[in-house]
């Protein structure tokens, strides 16, 4: 197997303009075979545009899209080996559940017996057995979601494109379908390119996440990397909760980055190789669960003084907000058994140097 075949989809410098308005700007990344990749970003960042370019409903203004190593730019949707689960499902209202699922196989000219066999198997796998003869108007939202999934999966596409497929479901069903979708994807080993603007959903389901903003790819990596090593302020802020402390880079040492924080505080962080230059503005990012109360004697480095503002009981943990020097609001998660200060107390918060992330100010 050559290297190209290992990648289900390759985006190369994909750019798209709608009548002069840029929707995608130089997006490049690869989706491996059998991978579950999520496009994550705020509304209007170009997720749907990228999916439509992959399925062939749009051609990129510039750049290239490859399926299993072959460029598909200019190939119409009906000749591409991709399949899309639409946000509104787009199930054919004049056909039954089984006829909807069978549609793609029928278009491929498969024998009716074989189609029936495969449709039955698909309905079985999706827990839709017995619903085959139902009309589309007579099934629930969750069932419609699975019919749409089955209708697309049955054609065994090189990549299955899903545009916020759970967006229309209520929270409980949504959580349930997240688990089920992931299970199905793992079971059949199909490549999924999944769109959501729900970061929790992305973290829970994906092998890799492509974080997008304003048409640009901000970061591409595993949920772990994206969460632990965000490469920009946007990613740090968008994924999970983050405390952002504005700093200035004082010194770049080979073993550590030394930063000047608000007031006279000074911090160290592990160098990442892509750190801002000495003297430049930077943002120190610390996750709430990585902040802890410092007991006296308070260490010099990597602490910040603050006043407790609010305490919220969350069950297993307590969430605290505190106001630090320079009017910075910090969120802290105090785990079970941790000492609880009172509102108005002056406290010191500490963190480990390796838990601190330095990103540019932009």
């Amino acid at each position: 197997m050559s290297e190209g075949e290992l990648r289900a989809v390759t985006f190369r410098n994909v750019t798209h303009d709608y009548d002069g308005a840029r929707a995608l700007d130089d997006v490049s990344f690869e989706v491996g075979d059998g991978e579950f990749v999520t496009l994550l970003g705020p509304s209007g960042c170009g997720k749907t545009t990228l999916l439509r370019i992959t399925s062939g409903f749009l051609d990129p203004t510039a750049g290239d899209v490859l399926l299993h190593g072959k460029s598909v730019v200019g190939v119409p949707p009906f000749r591409r080996n991709t399949s899309m689960v639409f946000q509104d499902y787009a199930l054919f209202p004049h056909r039954t559940v089984a006829q909807n699922v069978a549609f793609g196989l029928r278009m491929r000219g498969m024998a009716p017996d074989e189609i029936r066999r495969r449709v039955d198997r698909m309905l079985d796998m999706l827990g839709l057995a017995g619903l085959g003869e139902r009309r589309i108007g007579h099934i629930s939202g969750g069932q419609a979601q699975r019919v749409a999934l089955g209708r697309s999966m049955i054609v065994e596409p090189a990549v299955l494109l899903l545009d916020e497929p759970l967006g229309a479901l209520d929270l409980k069903l949504r959580k349930q379908m997240q688990v089920e979708l992931k299970r199905i994807q793992r079971q059949v080993g199909m490549t999924f390119l999944y769109v959501t603007h729900d970061q929790e959903e992305a973290l829970a389901m994906s092998d890799r996440i492509a974080v997008m903003n304003k048409g640009r790819l901000m970061q591409y990596g595993t949920p772990h990397e994206i969460y632990r090593r965000p490469s920009s302020r946007f990613v740090a802020d968008f994924i999970g909760e983050a405390n952002l402390i504005p700093c200035r880079v004082a010194e770049r040492r080979s073993d550590a980055l030394v930063l000047k924080g608000p007031g006279a505080s000074s911090f160290t962080a592990a160098p990442s190789g892509a750190d801002p230059a000495s003297g430049a503005d930077a943002i120190l990012v610390i996750r709430p669960e990585n902040l802890a109360l410092a007991e006296p004697p308070v260490p010099q480095a990597n602490t910040i003084g603050a006043v407790v503002q609010e305490l919220t009981f969350l069950g297993p943990s307590v969430r605290m907000t505190a106001l630090a020097e320079g009017n910075i609001v910090l969120a802290v998660v105090i785990g079970p058994g941790g000492r609880l200060p009172a509102i108005g107390d002056r406290i010191d918060l500490k963190w480990k140097a390796e838990d601190a992330i330095v990103v540019g100010p932009g």
Partner: protein, 290 residues
């Protein structure tokens, strides 16, 4: 509390009935009553220019034995059928274009479809005469460019001319309901079909067309019925050699002064119309497809 709720229900029921009442009254006065009179007339007969008000099937027997009327009857059916089919075939792409491709020109296109209604049928028939006549625009053009030697005589004053006039006149009746149906066909359904491997033609056949059946049916029924009963266009463009039903009715009433005879033809025409509507309503459950 209970009383008030009862009162509320009662007044709501009253509101439900009241809008239908004027419609019913209107239909009774202007439709049912004249048809009833026509129906009664069709069983009377004329003798020595006097109306004999005795019940008989005389007029219907006469009709069945009149080869000219039989011919007119079948010609009318044929013309109406051809007009309906041609209108449907022409209207679908027009409606499809307006609904799915016209973009911001949509309203302009719709207006263009409706504009002919702003001028009278008679005026439009004259326009066709100018186009189709022996010295009309088309014949002159064809002769002067040498495509044909002599003017085509069948262009005007023939069932062909009648059909063209009818198709032109009734096309909007076909376009509008199909357009309405197409507006309910979501783009994402067509996209989904393409995504699953259907070529544009196949997607139209599998998804768009079946979902347009309500509009097609409504359009076909209207066009067929109007074409079957139309008088002005056949009278002006048809030339009078080959009579259609509506012309035959007018002849009976006006020329022959045979009101019972004309009434009988009208009743037959009406029966056909009702049969068509009944058959269609039976065939497609409108409330399900609409």
């Amino acid at each position: 509390m209970l009383l008030r709720r009862r009162h509320g229900t009662a007044s709501r029921d009253k509101h439900k009935v009241s809008p239908i009442a004027p419609v019913l009254l209107f239909q009774t006065v202007f439709f049912v009553a004249p048809i009833g009179i026509l129906f009664v007339y069709s069983f009377w007969r004329m003798q020595d220019f006097r109306l004999i008000t005795e019940f008989s099937f005389h007029n219907y027997r006469e009709m069945a034995n009149n080869p000219l009327l039989i011919k007119a009857f079948f010609l009318s059916l044929r013309v109406a059928l051809v007009v309906t089919v041609v209108c449907a075939v022409l209207a679908f792409p027009i409606a499809y274009f307006i609904s799915k491709k016209a973009g911001r020109w949509k309203v302009a296109c719709l207006v263009a479809v409706i504009i002919p209604f702003w001028t009278s049928f008679v005026l439009r028939a004259y326009a066709w005469k100018l186009l189709l006549g022996e010295r009309g625009v088309i014949n002159t053009g064809l002769v002067s460019t040498g495509i044909i030697e002599a003017p085509l005589s069948y262009l005007l004053y023939s069932p062909f001319a009648t059909a063209i006039g009818l198709i032109y006149g009734f096309l909007p009746f076909m376009v509008m309901p199909i357009y309405t149906s197409l507006e309910k066909v979501k783009d994402s359904w067509i996209d989904a079909a393409a995504d699953l491997g259907a070529s544009p033609a196949r997607a139209t056949w599998e998804v768009t067309l079946p979902l347009c059946i309500p509009g097609l049916v409504v359009g076909c029924v209207f066009t067929f019925i109007f074409a079957l009963g139309e008088y002005v266009i056949p009278a002006m463009l048809g030339g009078g050699k080959d009579l259609l039903m509506a012309q035959a009715i007018v002849l009976e009433f006006e020329l022959s002064q045979n009101w019972p005879g004309g009434a009988a033809i009208s009743v037959v025409l009406l029966a056909i119309v009702f049969a068509v509507v009944a058959a269609v309503l039976r065939w497609v459950k409108m409330e399900e497809v609409l």
